[in-house]
Subunit: 342 residues, 4 copies
Amino acid sequence: MRVGVLTGGGDCPGLNAVIRGIVRKGVQEYGYDFTGFRDGWRGPLEGDTMRLDIPAVRGILPRGGTILGSSRTNPLKTADGPARVRRTLSELDVDALVVIGGEDTLGVAATLWAEYGVPCVGVPKTIDNDLSGTDWTFGFDTAVNIATEAIDRLHTTAESHMRVLVVEVMGRHAGWIALHSGLAGGANVILIPEQRFDLDQVCAWVENRFRIRYAPIVVVAEGAMPRDGDLVLKDGTLDSFGHVRLSGIGEWLADQIEKRTGKEARTTVLGHVQRGGTPSAFDRWLATRFGLHAIDAVHDGDFGAMVALRGTDIVRVPIGEATAAVKTVDPALYQEAGVFFG
Amino acid sequence: MRVGVLTGGGDCPGLNAVIRGIVRKGVQEYGYDFTGFRDGWRGPLEGDTMRLDIPAVRGILPRGGTILGSSRTNPLKTADGPARVRRTLSELDVDALVVIGGEDTLGVAATLWAEYGVPCVGVPKTIDNDLSGTDWTFGFDTAVNIATEAIDRLHTTAESHMRVLVVEVMGRHAGWIALHSGLAGGANVILIPEQRFDLDQVCAWVENRFRIRYAPIVVVAEGAMPRDGDLVLKDGTLDSFGHVRLSGIGEWLADQIEKRTGKEARTTVLGHVQRGGTPSAFDRWLATRFGLHAIDAVHDGDFGAMVALRGTDIVRVPIGEATAAVKTVDPALYQEAGVFFG
Amino acid sequence: MRVGVLTGGGDCPGLNAVIRGIVRKGVQEYGYDFTGFRDGWRGPLEGDTMRLDIPAVRGILPRGGTILGSSRTNPLKTADGPARVRRTLSELDVDALVVIGGEDTLGVAATLWAEYGVPCVGVPKTIDNDLSGTDWTFGFDTAVNIATEAIDRLHTTAESHMRVLVVEVMGRHAGWIALHSGLAGGANVILIPEQRFDLDQVCAWVENRFRIRYAPIVVVAEGAMPRDGDLVLKDGTLDSFGHVRLSGIGEWLADQIEKRTGKEARTTVLGHVQRGGTPSAFDRWLATRFGLHAIDAVHDGDFGAMVALRGTDIVRVPIGEATAAVKTVDPALYQEAGVFFG
Amino acid sequence: MRVGVLTGGGDCPGLNAVIRGIVRKGVQEYGYDFTGFRDGWRGPLEGDTMRLDIPAVRGILPRGGTILGSSRTNPLKTADGPARVRRTLSELDVDALVVIGGEDTLGVAATLWAEYGVPCVGVPKTIDNDLSGTDWTFGFDTAVNIATEAIDRLHTTAESHMRVLVVEVMGRHAGWIALHSGLAGGANVILIPEQRFDLDQVCAWVENRFRIRYAPIVVVAEGAMPRDGDLVLKDGTLDSFGHVRLSGIGEWLADQIEKRTGKEARTTVLGHVQRGGTPSAFDRWLATRFGLHAIDAVHDGDFGAMVALRGTDIVRVPIGEATAAVKTVDPALYQEAGVFFG
């Protein structure tokens, strides 16, 4: 039995831990051979492979990124894509495919299995934690730890009660990183994409905070948007003044707060720092177990399944369950956090 | 309404986050007043209190330890204890008590509520993660991260393939820290209290590892024990040679491995480093939410209840459920990790 | 003998360690009493003081910021400032002043001693490391470690060879943080204020890097400027297209690189994260020793002196020596680093 | 021109940064070819080499350990050693050798150059910082940061004022790590090999500390020894009671303190954790510059020289200067720290 493995989509700490878990158990317990496909779906499309055996996965557990490379290539949007994938697998005698990725990558796996009979098992991946069907995704805990450490350091300046501190964190469609790092870091305002914010309310919280001689720390997800009026879009869109804007919501918000409250504001934009580097212990544990259980699913012939965390158990759910809808922050959870605002 | 709060048992990162959550929500949403009891159950026994209001909890979120202090004082083992606790609460007009602690501290709360009508709500606490009724306890993630970081650093030496590296981590009765940090750190042997180890097997794994020019890293819980023969007990017990032993299982194991394999072995004993310092983001999130939900339970008059994590939800369970039995490592989980041994 | 202490200027990890060193040695070895002045020179100007004794400095060693508060108040720019400072010291029986600060704060101390006879001892402080007279300033090592950690994490994304990663670090007038973190982090381009950069050269380095299938990491000091043409100024200046620009050099550079090379670029702006939080071990060691030696200087009546690091020794230099000129990066040092560019 | 590189002695964070600096500058600026010798002096003795070019040093900057491997093999204690080294170099057309190591490894280089004409340039290496001729050695700052972080975490437990906390750190012959981490971590007692300690004095400090409701933290170098009487030797020596002792000074000291003060004591033994893992920013900066300057020395034909740090400059000194005497802690420095004891 020969099993192919690929990783698709954006970087995510823990990808290598999944790969290692798959290979160690696959080789040692099931006697499988492995083929690593390079750069996500580009690998099976173009037949680009790499050796994937026990020596190849040595030492990769603590390393960020993915030894297999990644891409956003989509065989469903490629001429003759599914057939080319099937041909590659057939030529290389690959009997099953473990697909590690987010919504797009897994969506392809679901379709290739359901409509083209390509035997896929899925492993959910996103630092944004916005995939349905699993309690948590690996990479998220690492991102939250990094953002929380940054917020921790800003408290020192906040204590000097002179400046508003705005931290922009990842999260285009879901505010999980903002919510968790904001809660863990003791932020005074948390803004998420799920709920448009009222700039007046934000400024009121900011001013309230200065009253107790402590500067406010505002955590804002990159996808958060003000309630009305101003458009804040990166790369080429016009803002409400008709100017081309380069900067993101963090810079914009700091600028608005300065103008409205008269307080200096400073911005931290963590960017890709949140998705790189060594995974946290939790993410390594989760990713390793995902890998072990994914190869079990292959062994059981349970194709079309995706591994998922439920409580402390790894379970299997249909791949489609994860890709059906973005898992956004429950309004009740956001409201729960509201006790710390202002 | 006036609510008392106490923390009992050993240090645990996240205690202050719980206290802050309780007070912030209690004051701001419910209008409660608070009384902090010092040093666990000693506080209500002796009427030793401290101010506990919004300013008192400012800045404590990232700090390890507990601003309330702690102790192992047990009112059930103190003459007239329960009556003294009731008298203190009555004299101070304290209407309810939030009790944050482990097996012992919560056991007292369960009894005081069930048998003496002291209105208690429980919050589970242990870095060992060995309390039933909750998926995870706060403090555990922090401990695992610290141990994992230590193991990460040892891989550098392991790569020089010259020495066996033994890391002793916490866990007298349950091997959760050893299991998780061992998995996350890529250890080659993990030894837990739940399953007596075979020294010959350990040495076989060790020797196998050297064959691939990489030194073995052995993670051992402080409560792990060899299968037969030798007694390894700290503080005053005799070992099998009739000598008084000072050192723990880590030193003993390193010594045995040296003698049997002829390889040098070095020991790291992390000790209290694992239970101090700032909590991880996960632990702050969990502890904060435990605090928020504990005061909700008080507000609902749901005494005898303990907050707990189930999946991503905070639920309530009877306090007794947590203290009924130590939550040990499931043999299936330990076996799952076994693919990485040797 | 009563000694006053004040801290002026921006936040800097290690300030509390200096204060603790001064007080511990001053009280224990010399039997001095201390007066803490609040918020830099505002304290002596307005007579705003706080208790400063052994209990007041307990536990502050690892904490960022300053328990004394800080400000940019300048008595030389305040009506009757020097006289007011002298009056306060006289009224409070303060016999000497330890002044911890950067160029501005120390400049005041130099003048107050030279021209008004206020007995000052100086301690140099700046995370930018741009004070003359001392090998290193405390706070700098912490800032460099934080920036280096961020760069480390970006290498994961760089390995996916898809995007240019721009990191903006502190340094308005001197590029020390950029140079050291860029060297330590393995950046491919380092841009400092001391030398205007050629955008074409930067883009050539960037493109060269992609050729080896590895994305470039560009570290840019906030005060770095392109050689000609475009103006990049924060807060209200027009850029070359006549648009009001909000963002800093990092965003601008990423935008230019995208336009010229056609490669996506992402920005990380660390901001105040670099100057907050717990100091590194080196900074605590240096700051502690500065404190111990500053109080020795007071004891010796060596006013007008500033403590400084030379090699591994703490020496005394005239305060004016530190404030005479900004210590910028030596062109030879910058050139030495150039071997890693591109 | 072909240059050989070897690394000898114990692990030390920064070794890879030196190697990378040598190769990057040697290839790019001087057009040299390189030969990597494996496992210290064993490499040239046995002709065991590895490829060492620009791709070989990619990504190694942040990694602990050494890609070249290390050993304690000594050609001066090997039959016909110097001649074999010369023959290897001759056969491989290696014109010069950069030797990165501690006292022993560099001592060999000094002799091979002085007596056998083998053209060596030295780079000093030891985490213990005990080499003369240089202000600091790389690896030391990393070790001190790790130990300081551990001490930081212990303060949480110390605040509960219940237990004495003993931390054993590296340092057999010199107390630099103990002194610096003890100072940076705010330890209450620091014990170093340079000065035998008085157990009564240690216990007096311990008891004094409890009086202010704070438990003492004792940092002890592994080579520290009590003033009289008891022998504390690892591995097979008898202690004063005639028992075989396994454990080190940390365990012994905790045991003695418990017996004499009646206070519980707990030990942390960091072990090899201190010398593994990623180097600090300072160590990477220093190691990188050592590498750049070592290859400059080769280019200048300055054999028999060793690079060294003086202030902020890299200078050259005779190799013998570093190996002449262990650089121990100056009694005045130890006394300076004494203000924080007790």
